[in-house]
Assembly symmetry: C2
Homo-oligomer: 355 residues x 2
Amino acid sequence: MTRRAIIQPVIMSGGVGTRLWPMSRAARPKQFLPLVTSRSLFQETVARFSGDADVDFLPPVIIAGAVHEALIRTQLAEIGIAAAAIIIEPMARNTAAVAAVAAAWTSANGADALTLLAPADHHIADGAGFRAAVARGAAAASKGAIVTFGIGPTEAHTGYGYIEAGAAIAPGVAEVAAFREKPDAETAARYLKGGRHFWNAGIFLYSPDAMSGELDIHAPTIRSEATAALQGARKDGAVLKLDASRFALCPSDSIDYAVMEKTKRAAVVGPVEAGWSDIGSWTAISPAADDQRIISVDCKRTIIRTDGPTIAAIGVEDLIIVATGDAVLVVPRPRAQEVKIIVDHLKAAKREELL
Amino acid sequence: MTRRAIIQPVIMSGGVGTRLWPMSRAARPKQFLPLVTSRSLFQETVARFSGDADVDFLPPVIIAGAVHEALIRTQLAEIGIAAAAIIIEPMARNTAAVAAVAAAWTSANGADALTLLAPADHHIADGAGFRAAVARGAAAASKGAIVTFGIGPTEAHTGYGYIEAGAAIAPGVAEVAAFREKPDAETAARYLKGGRHFWNAGIFLYSPDAMSGELDIHAPTIRSEATAALQGARKDGAVLKLDASRFALCPSDSIDYAVMEKTKRAAVVGPVEAGWSDIGSWTAISPAADDQRIISVDCKRTIIRTDGPTIAAIGVEDLIIVATGDAVLVVPRPRAQEVKIIVDHLKAAKREELL
C-alpha cells in the first residue's frame, strides 16, 4: 500500500467570466458569485479541496489579480479557511505561468506534496466523488505523471476540448493518447458514443519536479521567469506579490499548449462523473429556488436571476433574464454564449461602470 | 356666425394605470410619466387644451387624489401653466361624480363656459386636430347637447366601447344612435367596415346646465352630493378639497352608464382622426429613441424602456422589456394586457413598495 498522498491545492482565481454578465463584473467576476449554492464558486472550490479525504490536503494557495485580494480575504474568512498563501499576479500571463508558479511554490513550501491546480470558477456537484478521482490520480502523479481530469461527457458538446484516453495505467487512470481541440458536432457525437474521449476540465495534478522538468523542456522561459517572479515576490503576511519585472517576461500561454500537448508524461483520470460544469454561460444556472423577488407566470424553460430588483415575467419560453441594480440582460437560451457581445459593446463604449 | 366658444378644460387625473407597471406606480401613475414625449401625458393633456385655438380655453381645472397634489403642482410648474383650481377627491367615486363636480365648478366660475372633461392619461398626436374637433362640437354643446368624441377606428379593437353615430346635426357632428359595449371580434370587424361606429374616447363637452339637468333626471344623488361636496370644499389657495362626508354619498358610477346611455342629448363629433391612444398597455409605447441605456442586438418588434438600469437584449422578438430601479417586466407583446396580473400578485403579497 502506498502512503497517503499530500496535496497542495492551488486555486486559479484570475478568470473574468464575461458570459455571466451582468452579475459577473470586473470587480467581482463569476468565481466570487453564489451562482449555484449560497457560497461562491471560489468558496466551494476552496472547500472542496480541504478537510477529510483519501488524500491529505494542505491549506490552499490562491493565485489571483491584485484587484480581488480583499474579496478573496473576505470570502475565505466567511468559510473559515485560511490560505497558505495568496499569490498576486501583477498581470495576466495565462495558465502555463500559473502552473510554473504553483510548482515552484509547492516545491519550496509543500513538504513533498503534489500540486493540484484548479480553476476557481467551476462547479462540481459531487465533491467527494471528485476528491476520490484526485486520490486515484495521486499514485500516477507521484510517479511523475502530469495528471488531467477527464469529465465523462453527458452531451456532444462542441465547446470543450477533449482528452482521448490511451493505454490504462491503473483502474480509472490512463495515458493520454491525444488532446483534441473543440470538435465539430459530428465528431463530438462520435466522441460521446465511443467512450474514450473526455471533456478537458483544465484541472491538473502533478509533482512539482515533474512539472518543472517538463516546463524546462517545453517552455523554459516560462519556467525560469515564473520561478524568479516567485523568488523575488514581495511578502506581506500571507500575501505574495510576484515580481512584476520578471513575471512580465513569461510568454502568455496556456498549460495545455505549452506543456500538455507536448509532454510524454500526460495521464488522465476518467471518466470523472462528479457533476462538473464550468458554468460557461447562464444556461448552466438553475432557477433560484424560492426567490421572493421573482414573479414568474406561465413561463417555460426560463432562467431568471436577480441580485436585487424584482423580476416579473409572463408567458415567456426558453429565455434568460438576469437583473442587477444597474443592468438587465434578456437573451434566448440558445444564444447565451453571445452575452460576450454585450460586454464587448460596453468596453467599446467605455461604459466602465457596467464592466 | 356664432361667437367663439369659451371652454373650461377639466382634466381627470385619478387613473391608476396598472397595465403600465413597473413604471406606473401608485405614487406616480402613468399620466404623470413621460411615456410618449419628454413631457408627461398629464402635461401634454393640459397643454393641449390651452393657448390659441378656434375656441377660448380657460385655465384648466385638475381633479385628482390627494396623494398626487404635489406632483401636479410640480408638473404644472414645469410647463408654466397655472391651474384655475386643483380639486382633490377625498375618495374615488368614478366619472359621473367627477362630471357633476366639473359642471358645478364651471357653472360657478366659468363665465358661460362649456366644460371639456378629459382624462389626463391619453395621448393625442395631433393636438390641433383634436382642438378643431372640440370647436366642431362646441356649437352643439352650446345648444344643450352632451358631446362625445368618436375616434375613427384604425383596427377592429375589442377593448373599447363604441359610439354608433345617428342622424347628422352639423358637418362632422351627429346624434348618438347608441353606445355599444366592447364588441366581439366579428362585431368589431363589422364596425370597422361600416364607418358609423367610433371608439369612445371618454372625453365630453357640455354646458354645465345640460349636464346638471341630465344628472338631475338620471342620477340625482350624484348631482346633489357632488355639488354639495364642491360647495362645502375646503379652499387652500388654488386647491379645493371636496367635502368628504358629502362626496362619499355619491354612488360610484361612470358617466357613460349614469347619463350618456340614457340621455336624449348625446351627440358625437366623429370620426376624430387625431392620433388618439389611451396608452392602454406597453404595446402603445414606441421604443425610446437614442437611449444610451438600451443595448439591443438583433431584436425584432421589441419594446424596451428603462428609467434607470441599462437593458441589454439579444435576439428576442415581439417582447416587452421594461426596467426601473427596483423592478423588471418581461412579457410578450400579445400578452401586454396581463401585466395587471403582476400588480394583483404584488397586492396580494402586500409588496407595497412595488405598487
